[in-house]
């Protein structure tokens, strides 16, 4: 028995070591990025592992201007806010009513929404650029925000649809008898009850829209409208392999909002991700 306990202890230490090494490997690129973002390009060339002689904060000042940080951040936030608001509002209404209405018509529309899960974005992007141009939503942050509503709403409908089943029907039936209007009933009584799934939907869609690259690349042509990712990617395209100090500083800056968001709301984010995946 004593031998077994020692063996178990050894196994536990081994597991810890494996996890520790994996954690170091995971953080290594981020650490190297942060470290070298404070160096001169000469220092990066000569000693990539060492601490900088003097912290080059001006790398960040340069990157701040070159990627038009505030403007890019504002654009990203606006696009995300429009997409998110539309998805939450429209999907909660549709998901609720589809879940509450029996019958073939309701089932048909639910099926139509589900259909989209099979369609890869790359299969519709070519025609989407054309439609966006015709509807004049191409080229503007507002327009791009509305595109995200269309692309994201169906999965959110699916999640709301499942969640509404857990809310007792007596509640809305009693309210209807009181003569409460359908929309008023939904927004005052039902919508607050949907909060857990609204949080899941908000987190999933926020991360998706904020980190999406291809759709903004296809839709935004004017640099004034660029998102954080487009600006950073453009900076990389301009300076390529020559000026890693500036590029790394811009990468760190571009990912700071997401990392801050993650460290603050970690518990909810991980729960949201797990719920979204398991119910999807």
């Amino acid at each position: 028995m004593r031998g077994g306990a020692a063996f178990r202890k050894l196994g536990s230490v081994l597991v810890f070591l494996i996890l520790a090494v994996a954690a170091v490997v995971t953080l290594f690129p981020i650490y190297m990025g942060v470290l070298n973002s404070f160096k001169t390009d000469g220092e990066i060339l000569n000693d990539i592992l060492a601490l900088p002689d003097r912290f080059q904060f001006h790398n960040y000042a340069d990157a701040f201007e070159r990627i038009h940080f505030l403007r890019s951040l504002g654009n990203t936030a606006l696009i995300t806010a429009i997409g998110l608001t539309g998805i939450i509002l429209f999907a909660s209404m549709a998901g609720y009513k589809l879940s509450r209405t029996p019958g073939k018509l309701s089932g048909f529309f639910f099926g139509v929404f589900i259909l989209s899960m099979l369609i890869p974005f790359h299969s519709i992007m070519i025609t989407l650029t054309r439609i966006a141009k015709e509807l004049h939503v191409q080229g503007t942050t507002y327009g791009l925000g509305t595109l995200y509503i269309g692309l994201g709403v169906s999965f959110a409908v699916f999640l709301y649809h499942g969640f509404v089943k857990s809310i007792p029907r007596d509640l809305d039936e009693a309210a209807v008898m009181d003569g409460c209007g359908e929309f008023k009933l939904f927004f005052t009584l039902i919508f607050p009850l949907l909060l857990p799934i609204t949080a899941t939907n908000a987190i999933l869609n926020l991360l998706w829209i904020w980190n999406d690259f291809l759709l903004p690349l296809l839709m935004l042509t004017d640099r004034d409208n660029y998102t954080l990712l487009l600006s950073t990617n453009m900076l990389f395209g301009q300076y390529g392999n020559n000026e890693w100090s500036a590029i790394l500083a811009s990468l760190i800056m571009a990912m700071l909002p997401v990392i801050a968001f993650y460290l603050l709301l970690q518990k909810y984010i991980i729960k949201g991700i797990a719920d979204g995946a398991i119910k999807g």
């Binding site: 890869p120 595109l147 169906s154």
Partner: protein
Amino acid sequence: MAGKHFGKRTVILLAFILPALLFYTVFVLVPAFGGVWYSLTDWNGVNPAYHLVGFANYREALTNDDYFLDSIGFTLKYVVCMVVLQNALAILLAVFIESRRRTKSVFRTVFFMPNMISLIIGGIMWLFIFTKVLPYLAVHTGMSFLDQSWIGDPKLSFIAILILSLWAGVGYLMVIYIAALQNVPDHLNEAAAIDGANAWQNFRYITMPMIMPAVTIGIFLTLNGSFKVFEAVFALTNGGPGRATQVIALNIFDEAFHNSFRYGYASAKAMILFLIVMLLTFVQLAVMKRREVEA
């Protein structure tokens, strides 16, 4: 009276779903059906006039377009590696993390973090690692195997793309597997311990069968996601050297927006991607469903 009631309910239903349906129809359904239509034409995206060409685009893509066929092959290789490696690593990390007490949440935080970062940013950061840091380490620490042309040599850039994708994606599946592990009843593990099962036997006969539903989800997500891989490749190699690491999505993107602007032809390729993803999804779901029933 009943008819009138039914009519009113239908109107209310339509009123509630109309906004969602409108956006969804215009930005997803119409482009999807439009894509099918354009794939049968020689539309070049600029010229308003185009002609129906039947299945000529499909025939050309599947018989005459080596770059496209290579991109399918390359993507398949990537998908197989990702499905196996990503799920295996995620299960391993989840099981290990769940066995910790005090360090559990720290490790979970660390391993999930890359998932929060855009693949474009992560990709450029890894490009720095592959082109600058690893060659430096090889020269100065004696780990000479690191001195490779990670981005220039197609074989190695495949590995580089895998490393980036795993770095970014494992944490996501790990979270799903952790949730599944937490649902395994304690008394099963306790009973196994009393029967003298070792860690491996416990994993093999208790843990794995209990988390099989999560494995289905994990494989489904990886399969679906890695077939559509785009950003990891775009950021790291942009399909190069030459077109050696071009994936299907990048091939479509280049065809439509960079090389030829043959929208009709690119739409046909996009439909082929759609059909592949759909077919694989159905096959995989059918197989996994059957296995779950047997187990």
